[in-house]
Subunit: 301 residues, 2 copies
């Protein structure tokens, strides 16, 4: 089970093609074929069907291990790299849309103003991608948001250890189109929305999976998928009646056609966390410190 072979296997599945994976990895088709053959011989099980190329049951199982494994391998290399050379001239932040609150934006701006020679960059992406960036060193610090029970930590993929602490916790709201019959209510319970259609936008708002888990419910009937990390686009869909979404109460403030109604039951909050490697770069440590809640803060971690 060579990591290189695992990487090839993942690429083959992602591209549903040996040749496309070869192109992506800079190999020949032949090499890819040999990688897969070697893996299948090693594990004594077919991993992908050919024509069409798709993971078998064993292949699916292997995938669940391979991805975290490769991520952790990259994280290990990045971790050791950080020990050696520190790159104090850069501060790259990876951030989920819901985590880029005004307070966060202000803190980033403050760092930027205070250190004019520091190359500050912010990348908005999904949570998994943000965690991956923090682990592999693509970003120096990540910010993620989600829905959890009050004072619970966010359920993060634990491929490798990350330091995490909460910086904000506020009411969780349901985004409804302005004309929706429930839009005038002061608060809603999830039970009121049993028949509602939802939009599953795991990278732009609270992932439905997480809401389901935190609320200990199944449901959330037929969903409209929404890929990408653009919150405005999601709001447009909500406004158009495409479905509902969950977000922080103030996230959609001022967005035309969308009303945010707090969710009163089950008891859930919208939480934002800072994530960084256990040995952050100096600028990342500085920003993390600036974001850390003080005595008046609302979140622990």
């Amino acid at each position: 089970m060579d990591p290189q072979q695992l990487r090839t296997f993942v690429a083959v599945v992602d591209h549903s093609s040996f040749s496309a994976a070869a192109r992506a990895l800079g190999y020949t088709q032949s090499a890819v074929s040999q990688h897969i053959a070697a893996l299948e011989a090693d594990l004594e099980a077919p991993l992908v069907t050919r024509r069409p190329v798709a993971p078998t049951e064993a292949g699916g199982r292997l995938l669940e291990h391979a991805r975290p494994l490769l991520l952790r391998l990259d994280a290990a290399r990045a971790d050791l790299g950080r020990l050696r050379r520190t790159r104090p001239g850069r501060l790259a932040v990876a951030c989920t849309p819901g985590a880029l609150t005004p307070a966060v934006a202000e803190a980033v701006t403050r760092v930027r103003t205070a250190s004019p020679r520091l190359a500050v960059s912010v990348r908005v992406c999904g949570r998994d991608e943000a965690v991956e960036a923090a682990l592999t060193g693509t970003a120096d610090l990540a910010l993620a948001d989600g829905a959890v029970a009050p004072s619970d930590p966010l359920p993060l993929p634990e491929a490798a250890p990350l330091t995490a602490f909460g910086i904000a916790q506020e009411p969780l709201a349901v985004l409804l189109p302005a004309g929706h019959p429930l839009a005038g209510r002061p608060a809603l319970r999830l039970a009121d929305l049993a028949a509602a259609r939802w939009i599953d936008a795991p990278d732009a708002a609270v992932p439905l999976d997480e809401l389901r888990a935190a609320a200990r419910t199944d449901g959330f009937g037929p969903q409209l998928g929404y890929a990408g990390a653009d919150f405005r686009g999601l709001c447009a869909l909500v406004a158009a009646g495409g479905g509902l979404a969950a977000a922080a109460r103030d996230a959609a403030r001022g967005v035309a056609g969308v009303v945010a109604v707090p969710l009163s039951a089950p008891r859930l909050v919208h939480r934002v966390e800072v994530l960084h490697p256990r040995t952050p770069t100096a600028p990342a440590a500085g920003l993390a410190e600036a974001l850390r809640p003080t005595a008046s803060g609302t979140a622990g971690g």
Copy 2:
């Protein structure tokens, strides 16, 4: 970062010697030397000091990744192996001492009686070892115990996904020698024991680290280390005044010289969980089902 090289690195650190690691792995010293040299060249950092052989800072960091990485690699192989061949004639259980409650023992006996041709084995070991056994297929099912806040899950190392559910939850107690001034109390608070000496027996009783984490305290002053998974020996030490330990209230019932006093604050319970791979073997699934709490059960999970 070849897994084989990582395995060699871990062995070198564990044996504090290149030659001993070579013997253990079936290599020559030369090969071990080359593995380490290759790793150090790859990661561009010294990983172990020579003479004496000990991990450097970078080496320590690498270790934190390498162990879970190798475990997950083994878990992946075991997982795929289970898909292929099922070994219905065996039921190997790995179990922490505190998890082998009378109810568990009875359930195992019942399985054994019901299936006379099934080779049933129970191995008592520390929690990490039990988790490892369940992940790598050394055991078909694991049972682990620990101290947590009521209805919280046990904090398990998450090298790879395991199905886990609680099967018992009962008051957590402090084990004191019979003559101890606090032995007569109906209940104790951790604060009463601020000055006490503890025994840290992570494989035989509740690990102090965990108690500390669950109680959100530092403390537990000077400790006596106790390695191994033998509960009787630990009780002997407690009886002799070697220090205190935490365990389920009924664990030390009937042990001469030891008194178990319930811990009333902070609010903690002793919890037992069943752990098995997501695709358990048939006998393991049977035992898990037999252990699963019914309507009258005390634990969720």
